[in-house]
Amino acid sequence: MKEIMAIVRMKKTGETKKALVAAGVAGFTAVKVLGRGNLVTDPQTIEECKEKLLSMGMDEFSEAGDTEKMVTSFLDGSRFFPRRLFTILAHDEDVPRIIEAVAKANLTEYGVGDGTIFVLPVSDAVRVRTGEAGEAAIW
C-alpha cells in the first residue's frame, strides 16, 4: 500500500483527474495548497519564459526594473503560488502506472514549476462503509 502525493498546477487539475481515470484510478483527495519548489540555480532555464512575460507585461506606467524583478521572482521559485495537492492511495503494483500518468498530464514546456510526486508507505487503511481493512480497503 502506498500513498501518492502529487503537487500540480491548479490549471492541470482537470487533466490530472482525466489521466487518473484513464489509468484506472478513480479515487483521490485534493486540497488547495500554496507551494514553491527549489530555487532556480541556472537563469538560462527561465530566460525564454521571462522574455515572453516581460513582453506581455510592459506598458507606459511600469518601470523596467520593477517589472523584471516581479517576473523573475514569479519564475525562480522564491514566491508561493496556489497549487493542487492530490492524495491517491494505491496498491504497490499500480504506483509506477499512476506516476507515469500524472507526470505525463502535468508536463509543460516551461521547464520549471510542473510539480512533484512523492510516494509514501502506508501501514493500514480501513473502509468506513464495510469495515474491511488493508489492501481490500483501497479499491
Binding site: 495548497v33 527549489n38 507526470a103 514549476g113 512533484t116 510526486i117 512523492f118
Partner: protein, 108 residues
C-alpha cells in the same frame, strides 16, 4: 528522503519559511488548517475553541538534513522562553520515491 509535516502558528510561518529558504530548503508546501491539541482547545470564559487555526508546512528533505531542519523549525516556531501550548508539532514520515515532473527523473 523524509516528509516533514510541521504544524505551526500562522503568524510564525513566514519567519520559518524565510529561514529555511536561506538555509537552502526552499521547496515547501503550506496549507491553512484547523485543529486542537491535547489541551482540548482553548477555554475562554464559557466558550471552548477547539478549531484553532494553524499552518501545516509540508517539506520533503534528504535524510541527513533532518536534524538541521527540525532544530531550525523548533527554534523559530517556539514562543516565549519555555514555549507555549499551541506552538505546534512536527511529524516526520519516510518517503519512498520522489519525482520532479519538469525534469522527468526521480529525485528532489
Amino acid at each position: 528522503m523524509l516528509l516533514i509535516r510541521a504544524i505551526v502558528r500562522p503568524e510564525k510561518k513566514d519567519e520559518v519559511l524565510a529561514e529555511l529558504s536561506t538555509a537552502g530548503f526552499n521547496a515547501a508546501t503550506m496549507v491553512d488548517v484547523v485543529g486542537r491539541g491535547k489541551q482540548k482547545g482553548i477555554k475562554i470564559g464559557g466558550m471552548v475553541y477547539d478549531e484553532i487555526p494553524k499552518t501545516l508546512i509540508l517539506m520533503v528533505i534528504p535524510d541527513d538534513a533532518k536534524d538541521k531542519v527540525i532544530r531550525m523549525i523548533l527554534s523559530i516556531a517556539k514562543t516565549g522562553k519555555e514555549g507555549t501550548f499551541g506552538d505546534g508539532k512536527i511529524f516526520v514520515s519516510p518517503v519512498d520515491e520522489v519525482y520532479t515532473i519538469s525534469k522527468g527523473t526521480p529525485g528532489l
